[in-house]
Each structure stands twice: as C-alpha cells, then as structure tokens.
C-alpha cells in the first residue's frame, strides 16, 4: 500500500507522463486533479496511481509543447518562464509550489512576474528553452516505453501556445480591427469565424494577431 502524502503543486508521474497536481480534494475517491505539463490537459485520478518526482537543476521537460531545461545559472530576463521550486511567499504574494510564471521585470533581489508576485532569486529555477545536452529528460518516467519516433515528434514542436477551437484572436495590423474565433483546425490551416483561413504560423505571429481569450476558459 502506498502511504504517500500528495500535496498541491507536486510533480508526479501518471500513466508514465509528467503531471503537476493542481488540486487535491480529500473527500472524493478520485481526489487528485492533475495537469499534464506536455499539453496542459486536465486529468483526474487517485493518489495510488501517481509517483512523485521532485524537479531539480538540469532536468528537461515539455511544458505546453515546448522543451525547457531547468537552470540556475542563467539570469532571468523579461519574458522568461520560471518554475517556483522553493516557494516562500511574502504577505502580498500568492504563489505555491512548482507554479510556472512569466517574468515581467527583474530586480536586484528577485523577479516580478506578470501575476504581480515578487519572487526572490533563490526561490525558482529558470526554464531555458531547448534541451540542454547534459540534461536529464523527465517528461516520461520510463523512456523505453515510448517509441523513438514519438519523442522526435515532440521535440520538433517548438511553437508557442497552439490555437484550439474557441480561442478568440484580434488582428492588429489593419485600421478596422477584426476579432475572430478559431472554429476549425485542418492540419496546419486554421479557420477562423467569418471564413478567414490562414496558416498556423501567421496566427501565432504576435505582431499580426493578438490572443484575447478562450471561450473554454470560463
């Protein structure tokens, strides 16, 4: 019997893939709410089905379809992702273990994230894009189980948030601005409401299209 105490924030393996526990509801059978780091999908399971993993320096994993390597040495810059491994929030901060936030500005003693948390330099590991040669891949517990080609697929995808149906975007570079929702995805072609069809790269270009919100988020 596994007598392992599960807590919000921990990284765990569930069905061989790396997840983050985002909530634990003690009164129900399937009490563990998980987010798969690879594609941010949500899952639900019981504590017996997971194994804990504590991320450390030089671990590399896929977060939202991008590969990152955890690093202590590079200084954080604006726009970098950080993984908060040693949370010590102050009075006005609201973050917890293993949260991933985006750096909004860098100060002497720490960084400020775009969620207005002040995080000291010793509280986080920087997520450097790409896979370091010396890194230890942690996205699967048992890498032998995964076919080589499958892995190859994932490391190719170095794109930002992929559009999903229900995302609303705004076109930036015309006078008459257009808001449109993704209604269909056909391979690399994204079809927006109003009959707009465009390649995925163009929609992902931040200068041309701005992501507003997703209907599914509500």
């Amino acid at each position: 019997m596994k007598l392992f105490q599960l807590r919000k924030g921990q990284f765990v393996y569930y069905q061989n893939e790396l997840h983050r526990v985002y909530s634990v509801k003690p009164m129900v059978k399937k009490s563990v709410h998980l987010m798969k780091l690879k594609d941010l999908s949500q899952h639900i399971c019981s504590a017996a089905e997971v194994d804990k993993y504590q991320p450390k320096e030089l671990d590399s994993f896929i977060f939202n379809k991008n590969v990152y390597t955890l690093s202590k040495y590079r200084k954080a810059e604006e726009g970098d992702f950080i993984l908060i491994t040693n949370p010590n929030p102050d009075y006005l901060d609201h973050y917890s273990l293993n949260e991933i936030e985006v750096v909004a500005s860098v100060e002497n003693k720490g960084v400020i994230t775009n969620k207005y948390n002040g995080i000291r330099h010793n509280e986080y590991l920087l997520m450097v894009p790409g896979r370091d040669d010396n890194s230890n891949r942690i996205e699967y517990r048992d890498i032998q189980d995964i076919e080589e080609s499958n892995i190859q697929d994932h490391s190719d995808v170095i794109s930002d948030l992929l559009p999903t149906i229900g995302d609303v975007y705004r076109k930036n570079d015309t006078n008459a601005a257009i808001d449109a929702m993704v209604v269909a995805i056909q391979g690399n072609t994204i079809i927006l409401g109003g009959g707009l069809e465009l390649p995925h790269e163009e929609l992902m270009n931040n200068e041309k299209w701005e992501f507003l919100y997703s209907l599914l988020d509500k």
């Binding site: 010590n88 929030p89 102050d90 009075y91 006005l92 901060d93 609201h94 100060e107 002497n108 003693k109 720490g110 400020i112 969620k115 207005y116 948390n117 002040g118 995080i119 000291r120 705004r170 008459a176 601005a177 257009i178 808001d179 449109a180 507003l212 919100y213």
Partner: protein, 508 residues
C-alpha cells in the same frame, strides 16, 4: 555609499530618521512628550477636527458616487483578467485585513463606554444604549471602508492598469507625471511611511494592552506596563525569527487560523448569548444608523466641549487613515480582475454589513448583560478597564473559559500577524514599491515599529496612542484628498481606453 544609492534609499533613510527622532524624544524626554501630545490633543479638537470630519465624509460620498458612476464597468487589470480568488475568500481576506485586532479590542468596550458616557444625553439610560450602538456602527461602518475603498482602488488602478510600482506616490502619476520619481513623490512616500508606522504602532500598542489583559484574566499575570513591554519584546523576537528563517509560511497559516477562530467565536456568542436581543439590536441600530447618518458624520459641538468627539470619532478617523496605506496595498493586491463596481460593493458595502453584524453580536450582548442586570458597577468597570473588557464580558456568558481562551488566542495571533505583515508593507513602501523588499529593511522596520509602540505605551498608554495617530495621519488625510482627484483622472483615461476596445469589439 555614493550619491545615487543615497537618493534611491532617501525614502527609507528620511522616514527612519524621523521615527528615530520621535523614539529618542519619547525615551529620554518622556514627560515632555506627554506634555506636548496633551497640548496637541486639545489643539487638535479645535483646529484639526473639522478637517477629519470633512475629509472622511467626503470619502464616503466619493465612494458611493464611484459605485453608480460611469466608471463602474472598468476592470482592474487587463480586460481579459479575471479575479484570482473566489468572492467569498476575497471578502473574508479583506475584512480580516481591514479590521483585525481593533475589532476584537473595541467591540465590547466601545458600546459599553458610550452607554456610560454617551456623546449627548444621560448615561445609563435606554436612550444611551441606542446612541451607544448607533455610534459604534458609525465608527466602524461606512467611513473606514470608504477610506480603504479610495486608497485601494487608486493603488489597484495604478498598478494593474498603468503598470506603475506599488508605491503611494504612483497614485499621483495622473497629476504629477514623472515628478512622482522626484522630490514631491519622495515626500509623499515618506509621509505615507510615517503615517503607516504610527497606525501600526497604535494597533500594536492596543494589541499589547490586550494580550497582557488576556494573560491577566486567564493566567493571573499582573496587568502592568512592564508586562506589556515584555509582550512587545517577545513578539518582536518572534517575527524577527520568522523573517529570517522562512517561517513566514507559518505566519500565513496563523492568519488563516485567526479568521476561522473569529468566525467560531462570533457564532458561539450568537448561540450562547441573548440571540433574540442581538437580532433586535442589529435591525434597530441599522435603522438608527441609516437615519442619522449625515447628522452623525458632520456632528461637531460648536458651543460645547469637543472632548468626546476627539477621543472617539477623530481618533478613529485618524487611525483608519494612518492604517490605510497598509490595508490599501493588501486590498489592491487581492482585487486584480474585478470591476470598479464589484470593488466598491466588496470593499464598502459588504464589510460594513459585516462589522455591523459583529458589533451587534459582541456589543449587543454586552449591553444586554449590563442593562438587564442593571449593574452600573459592571458597566463602569468595563469602561474603565477597556483592554480587559472582552474578557470581563466572556465571564458573564456560558462556556466562559473556552471563550476566553479563544479570545486570547485570537488577539495573540492577530498581534503577531499584523506585526509580521506590516514589516513587509513598510519595506515595500520605503523601497519605492518593490515586491521584493530586503530582509534588512524589513527587520529594521520590525524593530522600529515595536519601539514606537513601546514608547507610546511608556509615555501614557491609550491616550498617547490616540493622539499620536491624530497628529501623524493629518498630512496623509490631505494627501488622500488629492488622491481622489488623481483617481478620477486615472479612471477617465482608463474609460477612454476600455471603451475604445469595446467599440472595436462591437464593430466586428
């Protein structure tokens, strides 16, 4: 230290010097300080009184105007931001931050004291009981929350919509533009730090009085000045350790525990106390409060002695204003993603109801005990021993030991959490609004605020605490008036931005 670094730290250094001068004055010239505060106290009734009365009343009108204004739908943050907390925990958090230690201290003492010496009319009568409850609602109702609404909203708009640092001077960006980084901005920050130190020191002083009183009534520890100073020293050591060792998480657990204990005590008293009387008190006093609202808000005594107003109303207004930067920062932080209308309802209306319920339960049952037993001695005893009031009151209820212990735990926890969290806010305010204040600065403020509290207690206890607030909060009250104007300008420019975006949306 080179000149640039000195300039960067000027807010910290100057406000620290000012406070140190005050502490030295208090320790070495205690009699002189007492004398000066006394003369300021009587002067403040004549000269500062109308300013406080006028400004706080204006804040109430201004907040209610915001609620119904065209700015209601403006969102704090980006149009796509949604609140970080669900509404129930948001309300609980801001209520705890706004009232905290004071509400435990005064909820029994205030109505009973008013009953013995009402602002007008005879004491110990049934009319006096009505007036007592009415004035308690008044002091803890819309006015304090209106002050927090103004400062919280101004800070939130500046941080989330204008992307400015989390300092009080940022609020003046719409008026001063880049001069907020110059001497004017620094002066504003220094005054806000100074006011905050005294607001917090007042709370810590009251807290120390009450922790000692609690130990006196539960464990029989002598209720003397020495013990009060020891309480301050011990608490200081506790939070200095917590700052340095990362025990701050523990402090957060404690502060959640305090919320739960207060709610438990509240429900317990409602059940074991005179339940029907409490409900009647709540409805009756709410009616009186609403009916006499304007008259009470502007009440001064041109021909009479202003002693009562100064020692109660003015003290409260000043204390809330001195306390405002601290609470405002916190409220702003937890309110990102809400609209102006939600903000005003959540910070002005709902907590006012909350304090009224709290006061009805504590004050109502205390008055009921005093009146139904016709025990004038008891009433006088409570009014004379304000810090013991809540424990004396518990003795007259069933389950008194349990209630006393819970009450003591509550006061002790509030004391430590306020002391701890305030060092963070002071560090932030004095370092130009950084969210990562250095530990050295936090510790310095920790020691300073305890020292100020100790000095105030040393030089005369409660009255000196009250006077210090009235004097120190004065410049900040004026700053807050300008803040309203600045907030309006900021809201106007935000209205233009957010409506334009909406129009674009409607068009497509």
């Amino acid at each position: 230290m080179n000149v640039n670094k000195l300039k960067e730290k000027s807010v910290f250094i100057i406000s620290l010097l000012l406070t140190l001068i005050f502490i030295v004055w208090g320790v070495f010239f205690t009699d002189n300080l007492t004398k000066v505060t006394n003369s300021i106290y009587s002067g403040s009734i004549d000269y500062l009184g109308w300013v406080y009365i006028g400004t706080t009343f204006f804040f109430v009108i201004f907040s209610i105007y915001l609620l119904f204004s065209k700015y209601g739908h403006i969102r704090l943050g980006k149009a796509t931001d949604r609140p970080d907390f669900n509404t129930a925990s948001w309300l609980a958090m801001l209520f705890g931050a706004g009232m905290g230690i004071g509400i435990v201290y005064w909820s029994v003492a205030e109505p009973v004291t008013h009953y013995t010496t009402p602002p007008y009319g005879e004491g110990y009568t049934l009319e006096a009981a009505d007036v007592a409850m009415k004035y308690t609602f008044f002091h803890w109702g819309l006015h304090p929350w209106a002050i927090y609404t103004v400062i919280g909203l101004a800070l939130a708009i500046c941080q989330y919509n204008k992307k400015l640092p989390a300092a009080i001077s940022s609020v003046f960006y719409p008026i001063l533009k880049d001069r907020i980084y110059g001497p004017i901005g620094k002066t504003i920050d220094i005054l806000s730090v100074f006011a905050t130190v005294f607001g917090i020191a007042t709370s810590l002083g009251l807290g120390a009085l009450q922790v000692t009183a609690g130990m006196h009534s539960i464990f029989g520890v002598p209720n003397t000045l020495i013990v009060q100073l020891i309480v301050i020293a011990v608490a200081t050591v506790i939070f200095l350790i917590s700052i340095n060792t990362g025990l701050e998480k523990g402090i957060q657990y404690l502060s959640n525990a305090a919320m739960i204990i207060s709610f438990a005590v509240l429900v317990l008293i409602l059940i074991v106390g005179p339940t029907m009387m409490i409900i009647k008190f709540f409805f009756n006093t709410t009616g009186l409060y609403l009916n006499d609202f304007i008259q009470m808000s502007l009440r001064m005594t041109p021909f009479g002695n202003g002693e009562w107003i100064a020692s109660w109303t003015l003290f409260y207004w000043a204390w809330w204003i001195a306390w405002a930067p601290f609470v405002g920062m916190f409220i702003a932080r937890i309110s990102r993603g809400r609209t102006v209308k939600q903000f005003v309802i959540g910070v002005l209306i709902v907590p006012t109801l909350g304090t009224c319920i709290w006061m009805s339960i504590f004050g109502g049952s205390a008055l009921d005990i005093v009146i139904s037993s016709e025990n004038h001695e008891l009433a006088k005893y409570i009014a004379d021993n304000v810090s013991l009031a809540i424990f004396t009151f518990f003795d007259y209820l069933p389950l008194s030991t349990l209630l006393s212990i819970m009450g003591f735990a509550l006061v002790a926890i509030y004391y430590v959490t306020v002391a701890d969290t305030s060092t963070f806010v002071l560090g932030m305010l004095s370092e130009g609004g950084t969210l990562n204040p250095s530990n050295k600065i936090k510790m310095t403020w920790g020691i300073i605020q305890s020292a100020v509290a100790a000095v105030l207690l040393l030089s005369g206890g409660l009255t000196v605490l009250q006077t210090a607030s009235i004097v120190v909060a004065f410049p900040f009250a004026i700053i807050m008036l300008f803040m309203c104007y600045s907030l309006l300008k900021a809201l106007n420019s935000e209205l233009v931005i957010q409506t334009r975006k909406k129009k674009v949306k409607d068009y497509s």
